[in-house]
Symmetry: C2
Subunit: 305 residues, 2 copies
């Protein structure tokens, strides 16, 4: 099938590339700056100069557009597409938007005669290689139309799922990130105890490596922790400021709204907030180091997880 | 090499079996009750009727004994062995003892002319099949003598490590369990939000399955959570009482002693304690269900993790 991808950041580029290299799909790409468009063209994508150009490349018929943009500009971009696309088009918000806003936006798209799918995506910088996992919300018919694209992007057997009405894909992704924050916190606290407890000069990377061999805590996050500690046992060059993108906080807000206790998530958020106030220790350094490993995040800046 | 295994519970039996089936090792087994001894003999082990009998089967020379016993009887059993074994013997405490007590016990064994290794072991009920991972503390020479046995029990490449002086193996295993408590708590809170948040009847097992495909939270614990939810989406037959074996609490005590913040671990322990006071919800049911999956724990009782 034919699909446009707008937003060739870290994740968007991988999605465009994986689809462009798949022989059953044609990919049209749009991006604010020209460099990434050129890169995507090298992978086999077709460049569009504008939304109008992209729509023309669909033969002025119904379009399917995958938006992979920061949450704060996604809604305005959807609005622009809505003024241009033929009715019956499908817009996909593949970014990390707040599911509460996704529901509102979907109603607006629906009122204009098209459809909005929300697709939460995880897989970090390794998704291109291993396949992403994808959490889909929105109307079932649009999901079925886009399913061949999901199959091309994900690993076999169960790596994508349509969870239900609009917002549910972003909701499941949001909870994933909430769990991620807490799991990282668990690891960071543990390694901190290893480092500053009674046994001095313990080999932390060796502990992480042993734990990756069929222990109960075997996990991708621990693998990344072990890799970070192997490269830099003292995490010397990491200042331990831990950013966040909102998803953990939204998860906690939802928990509070529905009366669900989430004390470990609260602890993870508090630790990150305190790190930004200068409460830096070995655990916050490790959080920053792990975060950098999975997302290509800047060690001390913003990014997507 | 020749080794005796005392204590054929869940973990001890798998260790004895894996070694007995390994052609380079001879295994002598001891157990309070006769049934497990008979089972181990079927795997190729040799039954000993008593400690004296076991020592005779070593030709009355130095022995290597792997004790896989509950922490509260291990010390007394070590004392008994000490009165019987030739000097230069190696006793291995493979159970989950408090590292602070392990250090004291090791001094006593050393004073009697033998050596005590502490080996923390993880791998749950799957260790026999996949190989265990093992965290070793104690004198280096005894570690090197027993290394062929560790190689037989663990997966290739980095699944065991000698961390240092006496107690360090149990210490690293203790921290592993502390991380495990918090990681499970992270998952349990997240699934609780999925279940009781804004989207009713979300397929929780499908979420867990998607997350197992290269998401950031891919982990053995999430795999077990997904499996539990797949079998019983409402966790109907689980009453949500979550036991613990002390290791999480010891980790927190150590953190406090050394001034290391561990708020997520505190949250996990508090949740378990509250569950035993009757504060049961979907998250505590999931904790109990995961725990049962990895350890063969009774759903509401005690066990080893």
């Amino acid at each position: 099938m034919k699909i446009a991808v707008q937003g060739l950041g870290r994740m968007g580029m991988q999605i465009a590339r994986k689809l462009a290299e798949h022989q059953e799909h044609d990919v049209i790409v749009l991006n604010r700056s020209a460099g990434p468009v050129q890169e995507a063209v090298e992978y086999g994508a077709v460049a569009a100069q504008s939304k109008e150009d992209a729509i023309q490349k669909f033969g002025n018929e119904k379009v399917v557009v995958w938006l992979m943009l920061p949450a704060d500009i996604t809604d305005a971009q959807v609005d622009e597409w809505l003024t241009l696309v033929p009715k019956g088009s499908i817009l996909i918000n593949g970014g990390n938007s707040d599911y509460r806003l996704t529901k509102v936006l979907a109603e607006k798209v629906h009122a204009a005669g098209s459809s909005l799918l929300d697709i939460g995506t995880s897989g970090g910088v390794w998704g291109y290689q291993n396949g992403f996992c994808m959490m889909v919300g929105g109307d079932y018919q649009s999901f079925k139309i886009t399913e061949p694209v999901l199959q091309a992007l994900t690993a076999p057997e169960g790596a994508y799922h349509h969870f239900g009405e609009s917002g549910s894909g972003h909701f499941v992704k949001m909870v994933h990130n909430g769990i991620e924050y807490s799991m990282m916190q668990a690891l960071a606290e543990g390694y901190h105890v290893l480092k500053e407890g009674p046994y001095k000069n313990l080999d932390l990377a060796a502990a992480g490596t042993v734990w990756q061999h069929h222990s109960v805590i075997t996990s991708w996050l621990n693998e990344l922790a072990a890799a970070a500690l192997n490269e830099s046992p003292q995490l010397e060059n990491i200042d331990g400021y831990v950013a966040e993108n909102g998803e953990g906080r939204w998860t906690l807000e939802t928990a509070q709204e529905y009366g669900i206790p989430a004390p470990a998530l609260q602890a993870a958020l508090d630790t990150r907030a305190a790190s930004r106030d200068g409460n830096i220790n070995f655990s916050t350094k490790l959080l920053a180091a792990i975060r950098n490993k999975f997302g290509g995040h800047s060690l001390n800046g913003e990014g997507r997880e």
